[in-house]
Symmetry: C2
Subunit: 344 residues, 2 copies
DNA sequence: CTGAAAGCGCTTACAG
DNA sequence: CTGAAAGCGCTTACAG
């Protein structure tokens, strides 16, 4: 076995105690400049790499982190929840407690209260799906200033200087656009179903990206417009069905940017337009996958939801437990999924 | 902080020493049936979960594992190498040494020698890309019988009862087929470029899967046949260029199952057929990506090579270090990639 | 068959 | 400012 360098080796070589090496490693406590220098040099020369398992063991204990999101589109957020649970389970044995704060729907006021609570209760970390609001941005800034480790996921707050983990909405719209431009027949007439002025900016970015690629690659395609449906309900279903019915001669393809793909799919199926309308949507929810298997939805764009939540919590825990920097934004993979490559 | 149950708690509750609990946990040493029962019950009741970090720390040391593959298609195997290196780095601090045995090309005889060497040198584990040969199967069986932890990756030996990590060749061919069937124009005439009687069975499986989906979805498409090119060289380039040139009226689409996509792409580009031939290939190598960006290749099917190698080594180390079962085969994700969703 | 003790590498009060 | 010691949870010889 190759000899592995430990903190002990460094301490011995530098002629100091292990505690001292630890201190320079983490800039903890005060150390004389020369001791610091010497230790640093030894670390360098020995190419010392701290053992994370040991670190976590020793540091064990007593951290509390909060995670918050809403779960209105249940199937999707359940996947987020899985990521949360997995991380919570994993770090529990290392002494960190993860508390979930889950809202029934997007609610800026409620989210503000949660952030406030997180600050007041002196949580050590916060993983959050931030809604687009100046007040939220401000509240999160305050939390960060008070030393709470904050990581955002799934929706990016571009006004906040904070690590984000999730997909790039614009790029995923572009990917959908590319697929559409590859598949669509000549002079294909298409609509986008979206939700304007959403409090989740990812949604708008998807439309932009989609249109950009179509306009670039397929000048022949005809854009019939955006249908905005911020909510998902009976009424929406009826409206959509009406639109496709009346104009079924006109619509050859549809791109749904939001979580109402299931409703649109149902409308299309009920109008017997399965094979006639090209359908691209987002997220690998059970409903969406079922419609894909039935041939209503052709392609789904995935964004690795479990990974988003898992990574957000993981980063916070690593920072807390091992001082590892939280680091850069991490964009999750944008997957293109057809029935043949569904995962499992 | 929620109280975390440790081995100590279990021991106390069962009225035994920690060592004893450890023994029943790992079926190490002999324990009286009743003690065993009692301890098991306490573990159950307390819902005790061992702390892996602690386990790895204590078990640290002195494991050697070997990994072997070839790297003729360098760009691809470099990605495999990355996975190997990442795992090696990670486990080094835990006292496991990873030795690479890399062949310049597929070579059954050479691989046999490596397996032999692994057995003779009493390695603790072996991660291998097994070539299709009865003798290899036998040699691996012997290694396993001698207690070496073996995991295969990238190419599956279906005659060996051993964990495999990699993509499902058949399913990835099906995925390629689906994309082709979505994109291809009416009466599209297509060829498959492959390498029959390969020593890597994944290749043949891809063709099968591809054809199955096309035949099912697109009766209109016309199959012009399989072009077999086991090697990648100047001569192959010339031949391919000839085929596309002479028959450029005839070939509308091509599916390349092997690592010679770059050569095919070059031929097509040199014949100025970029926009005329639909091109689907495998693996996100630099060359392939470059041809995709130039518009020669339309779609690439990925198979997570880094993950394959990483997971293979990771499983072996976990087994060695924490007794965690190596478990089931793990099929890596089949990704569909266009320029818009290339990772990074 | 089983318990007590030492050790894995790191961190954290506690003295000085 | 810095060292010695105890402890994190688990495993491993060593006695018995």
């Amino acid at each position: 076995m190759e000899k592995v360098i430990t903190i002990e080796d460094v301490a011995k070589k530098a002629g100091v105690g292990r505690g001292t090496v630890d201190r320079v490693l983490h800039n903890r406590g005060r150390i004389s400049a020369e001791t610091r220098e010497k230790v640093l040099r030894c670390i360098e020369e020995l190419n010392y790499k701290p053992n994370k398992a040991a670190r976590m063991l020793a540091r064990k204990g007593n951290y509390r982190i909060a995670v918050t999101f809403h779960n209105e589109e249940k199937e999707f957020w359940d996947q987020i929840q899985e990521g949360v649970d997995k991380a919570a389970e994993e770090y529990k044995v290392l002494g960190v407690t993860v508390d979930d704060y889950i809202l029934p729907q997007i609610d800026i006021e409620a989210q503000l209260n949660i952030i406030r609570h997180v600050i007041d209760s002196k949580y050590d970390g916060l993983a959050i799906v931030p809604y687009d609001s100046k007040r939220i941005t401000e509240a999160l800034k305050e939390a960060m200033e008070k030393g709470i480790e904050v990581v955002t996921f799934n929706n990016q707050d571009r006004n906040l200087n904070c690590c984000y983990i999730g997909h790039d909405g614009f790029q995923s719209g572009r990917t959908a656009g590319k697929m559409m431009s590859l598949i669509a027949k000549n002079n294909c007439r298409y609509v986008i179903v979206s939700a304007h002025s959403s409090i989740m900016n990812q949604i708008d970015e998807r439309s932009e990206g989609f249109l950009e690629v179509i306009n670039q690659n397929r000048k022949d395609m005809q854009f019939l417009g955006v249908l905005n449906f911020p909510e998902d309900c009976e009424e929406v279903y009826t409206k959509i069905r009406g639109i496709f019915s009346k104009k079924n001669q006109e619509i050859d393809a549809v791109y749904v940017t939001t979580a109402i793909a299931g409703t649109v799919a149902k409308a299309i199926e009920d109008e017997n337009l399965n094979q006639k309308v090209i359908f691209i949507g987002h997220d690998l929810t059970e409903t969406n996958i079922a419609y894909m298997k039935k041939g209503v939805i052709d392609i789904l764009i995935g964004q690795e939801p479990e990974r988003q939540a898992y990574a957000a919590i993981d980063k916070i825990c690593k920072k807390l437990l091992t001082d590892e920097e939280i680091g850069e934004n991490e964009y999750t993979k944008i997957s293109i999924v057809v029935t043949e490559n569904i995962d499992e």
